[in-house]
Symmetry: D2
């Protein structure tokens, strides 16, 4: 197979070295639809990355696209700061009707800058102001963004080191499963918070992902989540669920925390919130926490009107009933089954691989980052875009669109399986 | 005049108290074109706010819109993380050809999260890593965003207080004109940096706006800018120009720093960069500063492909020659003339009003925030959207689209003048 | 028994509410000798507090006193900043000959401000400069002083809260025994430091007390100390032993870390270093860490000449052989035996009391702070000064002079036992 | 003249490189009395350094010495933590009677750790807790100590850099005379504090020295001090006077702030407070600020009983009337006259030297640090110990004992003058 020409000279010359995905997937893409990407050479790729969880409804979802194009052709507001628009009103009303009310949730909505990290910054500020406390508890392997306030809650040393100055205001505690025995990290947290001499100041909030995405598809057990919720209530600590990657149906429920009997005080959401890959983020908070004064937290692109439009369609199309949720669970089981098979293949070769995940957020931990990189490269060659995560990049991660067809899903999994077989054969030959 | 009904019950109920522009402009907007906004009652408003400088080419600019719709209809990538796309390649090539080369600039481009504050966070990190120093000098009345790293460089106490924890790593110095005599703030800065015992640690960078937008349309003189540049070079300090609000032609040049003979090491840009109101931001830096390791600074929405498309069109349409720049200068003179007249009207009434600005970034300082609020409310009633800025909200700010027609511009100015007359008459009657 | 008059009106009126020991021991003391305190009413008290471990050689030790008075009468320098004096030379030579050489230690000595907290601040700075890292690991229940840098490493919320601002640069980890199973805290620490995504940045140093004094007489096992030492060496982390309270023979060796096979990079010492209760502190560091530039860390009272004199005598009198060390061990066994008996008495009454300690640093944990306060008050009434420690003040602590006579020791223990009996009788009567 | 042997091998080997005065004065001292130091070779030195202002009453003042020796021989408590002693009671009563009452001051006293930096840490904490604000204003060239909290308020980069981490919670403003025109720094400060958008958060306190010692004998004018006091009262900011070096009569009044009509809320004192060179420090605060809870700020050596004894004698001997204050003023005039002559000698040689000072705190600024070092070395050779200060070490500083005899004072000044003449002759010869 000859490698087709990639016309990337100007990109390599003009773009900062910070670029990363173009290194794993070195081609120039032109268009995309559903779960498929196309490059300049018209090569097709199944997309198991999906904007790192941003494209739950697929690329350029036709239902959303239609309404969006109509809105744009009619000169609906593209940019309106945080002024009121019909698009925003439709959005908040759909959110209340289709998301909050059926789940018995009562939240007010803050439109912050349209990225997850901005939502985290806002959430931390809300919690600190409401409690008068500075400290926040975050967890090992957590990723919450890289602006300085969110970075303080991000565990990975790569990002932390790049700040070139110490962060502050966050204490890290072991996530579910980090210490031996699920309950031990809860017991340690409870002891730490009860003990006035633990060095961990009583926090304003506990901030968590129910499944850690960047951190390696680490899944918090339901018991652990409910244990955290109890600790929060006992000590008067706010619970912030960062549902940026796990939300919008990714785990088989609209909110990832619905799997457990817990009640977050603050929820951050972004990524698939617009449903169309448009920058968008919001913070949902219990009304009594909404102590902002007008304009205290601002940003030029808060309240992206194009995103209001597509997000509203997405809610009405996909969340008026539980059909999609069921589909996610069903497809998740497929991926789980296949990943478990792959894990066994590695185990048979002496590599302690492991499958982990919830819903359509699935990881295959193959222990070594270089093996995972090799796998990703082979998959890309064969037409599958899939990324790695975890502290050593040792976890191959499936975040495919929730609406992926069974054919596409199976085709992607087949490519991955073939790549695994090839890798294991090569390893055996050594 | 009867106030038409505003259907905002759900918005008021569901949106956080942090909302701000919907308080000044309490109506529900439906569509917008060029310099005109329309609300649900079909009332028209001239837009002197223009997304706080985000809509330099007007709302839904038809030239940009056409290409954008074509791209979207063809299923061009909407979201691609930081993967290579044809849209991105077109963008960097246009940027090099039309913006960098003609100005003799050699920069590499970092696509950060699509908001100004994310760009500032990246810029500060670049400077700190490149120099190994932590401190950064920012200025009185500076506004650089509200995420924690950027907030540290934002002077306004309203935003700072909302962080609910101390910021660090920034020393504030008096901006041009803050102290009596333009040169005095330069002399003070120079003394402070030369003196190892000033308490101001040698900074990694000096971060500035050439015209402070949120801070009250404070205009740095050319001499002051060149003085800062000299100080930077003398002490080995990097110069970061925050061109987020002042860039993309706002002041009559593409970059606001082109008015002076200076050479910023890092430039942050956002707001009108997409040309269409789409969330987008970038950092331009001298190649030797590009010491990022892959992925050290990330974000889901870095590299907004729809914005690449419109931004490329905007550059090709408006920056292939200097026609627009000249138009901005001409229209700026019109606003300057009218604002000076208004200032004199206030002065005649004993209020020490002042006109300030550069290009189409113009302010009318009427000393008291409550007077400015009253003026804004009357203008809104009469069909003009215009906002205030400055520490006490005492400066009425014109940030109209650069492409505004002379008719619209004059109509807006006439509304403002009538409002001023009404206010002064009422004051005289007291 | 009638309470004798205490003439404290002026003291109560003029001294800040921060005063603490005068609340537990509300009398006015006049003189002291060895292990005995005398108040204005000529009442005698056995001293089990001994300046919180500052008076290892007793109050006004006659051997030290004689040489000190001679020095003072001859107009030896009282204050000499950090100039060279014969007193300082005698001190460093005795230190080398009697302390460093016999133990195979090679350290240089920094004379910092004459308090433990100043020594900790210096030690942290040495470690941060030598490694270029900011973070430091400290432990649950640690106490290292209250100036801001040391406070960051102090776990107790009472002190931390009083700072009225967040501290930074320290991560707290569980001390030996804090989690169930001695080895678990080591395993957790090792995992945390190995894992680049734990949120705990690779530290410059690990800072520890071998027995936590203020924290509640928590004794690190020898295995744990050696485990920490191994972790430090493996990861290139400096080991700082805070021997301020545990040093100068308190645990039965001159340095408390001699019980384990470890080699601290930096040692902080104060309290009993002068031997006479005079303010004095020093930092011992491996020569390669001595990267200070002249005068970078200063202080008016660094190098207390009167303390040099008494400290030199103390070393020559008590550390030329191991007689004192053996005596400490023997007396420690006595206290241990008696405290274990008392613990059993509480256990028989259903209170899960526990004896803990090493050498003559012994605690009786009776679980509840109010019980301990009651005990201390009764002891004071009966002529024994003894204090509490631990997060809830629930540990009665014996820090009697190392030179206490057997008679005095037994008398003090008898008073304590009688107080315990009285308390348990009263509890039983309820 | 042959240089006598200096027996310093062990000192050079065992003491940290941080040592500083032993570099300027490379001999081994044995004893001292009044204003005279003696070294091992029996060489005499007039002492114009006097423990950097710690020995206002001279070395081993016989009146203090007698009472101190009696106290020690009677086994008065040397160390008593913060328990009540007769020595402490005598001290607070003398303080009230002789210092507070005659000056109309109503303060309560906190005994903190016995060094200036501990007092500053306490003072900052008091101010932050009382106001609920974090920020503190300090000034260019300020020196307040090197523990982390005090270091944040210390301007000199040498000390700040050694911290190896950023400090926080302090904004630096120009001290009196730093900017051209005395009033300009006041106007700038007032504008900065009034303007909510200056970047300087409303501070808990303004912390200042009335004459900056380490910073170069910079003298705040009376008008400036009174201007600061007005600003504090207007904005509800606490005024902290750091009287550690300037207090105890050094400037010709007991407290240095008595020269101005101001009323500090908090005063820090140390150095000459004991009168005998013993480590001692205290914080005086208005009673309503004493919001400490017992034990929130502690330290082993708070309340040095030996220092209580000598301090009480010093107050009764020297502050029962204003004889000493007058003497200080008179001798200060002598030094001022002589230093002005020396300044003119330098000016005649083209060096813009300047005399500065108040009372017996006098500086001769000779512009260049290397000239000052040369001068100090020559003085030492000729039997005068005198040090330099200022950001470049360019100010020769006279801090001789207040009780120095006229003969000694003149002898010291003569040595200095001869050294100046020698230096100028050598310069002229080049």
């Amino acid at each position: 197979m000859t490698t087709p020409h990639v016309n990337s000279e100007s990109l390599e010359r003009l773009e900062s070295e910070v670029r990363t995905y173009s290194r794993s997937f070195p081609t120039v893409f032109t268009r995309a639809r559903g779960a498929t990407l196309y490059d300049e050479n018209n090569k097709e790729y199944i997309d198991f990355l999906a904007g790192a969880g941003t494209l739950n409804y697929g690329h350029n979802n036709p239902k959303l696209k239609k309404v969006l194009l109509d809105y744009m052709m009619d000169d609906g507001l593209t940019h309106g700061l945080d002024m009121w628009t019909t698009a925003k009103r439709d959005f908040v009303e759909a959110l209340e009707e289709l998301i909050f009310k059926p789940r018995g949730l009562e939240y007010v909505v803050q439109f912050c800058g349209p990225t997850g990290t901005n939502a985290i910054e806002a959430a931390l500020r809300i919690a600190r102001n409401a409690t008068g406390r500075t400290n926040v508890v975050s967890f090992t392997n957590a990723f919450h963004g890289v602006t300085l306030g969110a970075l303080a809650a991000t565990a990975n040393g790569k990002f932390r080191h790049a700040a070139a100055m110490p962060t502050q205001g966050v204490s890290f505690m072991p996530y579910c499963g980090y210490m031996e025995g699920d309950s031990s990290s809860l017991a340690f947290l409870e002891k730490t918070l009860t003990d006035n001499s633990s060095g961990v100041d009583l926090p304003a909030a506990i901030l968590l992902e129910t499944v850690q995405g960047e951190g390696g598809i680490n899944v918090a057990s339901i018991e652990w989540l409910e244990g955290i919720d109890k600790i929060c209530k006992k000590h008067g600590i706010l619970l912030i669920v960062d549902d940026i990657q796990t939300g919008c149906g990714r785990t088989g429920k609209y909110f990832s925390f619905e799997h457990a009997d817990i009640s977050p005080d603050i929820v951050t959401t972004s990524k698939s919130l617009s449903g169309y890959g448009l920058p968008f983020a919001a913070v949902f908070m219990k009304p009594e926490l909404d102590q902002w004064k007008p304009g205290e937290y601002n940003g030029t692109f808060r309240g992206n009107n194009l995103a209001f439009v597509t997000s509203t369609v997405a809610m009405r199309e996909y969340w008026a009933n539980d059909d999609l949720a069921k589909e996610v669970t069903r497809k998740g089981t497929v991926v789980e089954y296949r990943f478990k098979q792959l894990a066994r293949m590695y185990q048979d070769a002496g590599i302690e691989a492991e499958e982990r995940g919830r819903g359509l957020m699935r990881g295959l931990d193959i222990v070594k980052g270089d093996l995972a990189d090799e796998l990703v490269a082979e998959c890309f060659e064969q037409g599958l875009v899939i990324e790695t995560c975890g502290p050593d990049g040792q976890v191959v991660k499936c975040l495919c669109p929730l609406l992926i067809t069974d054919d596409e899903l199976n085709k992607g999994l087949d490519i991955l399986e073939a790549a695994v077989e090839k890798q294991l054969k090569a390893l055996a030959a050594k």
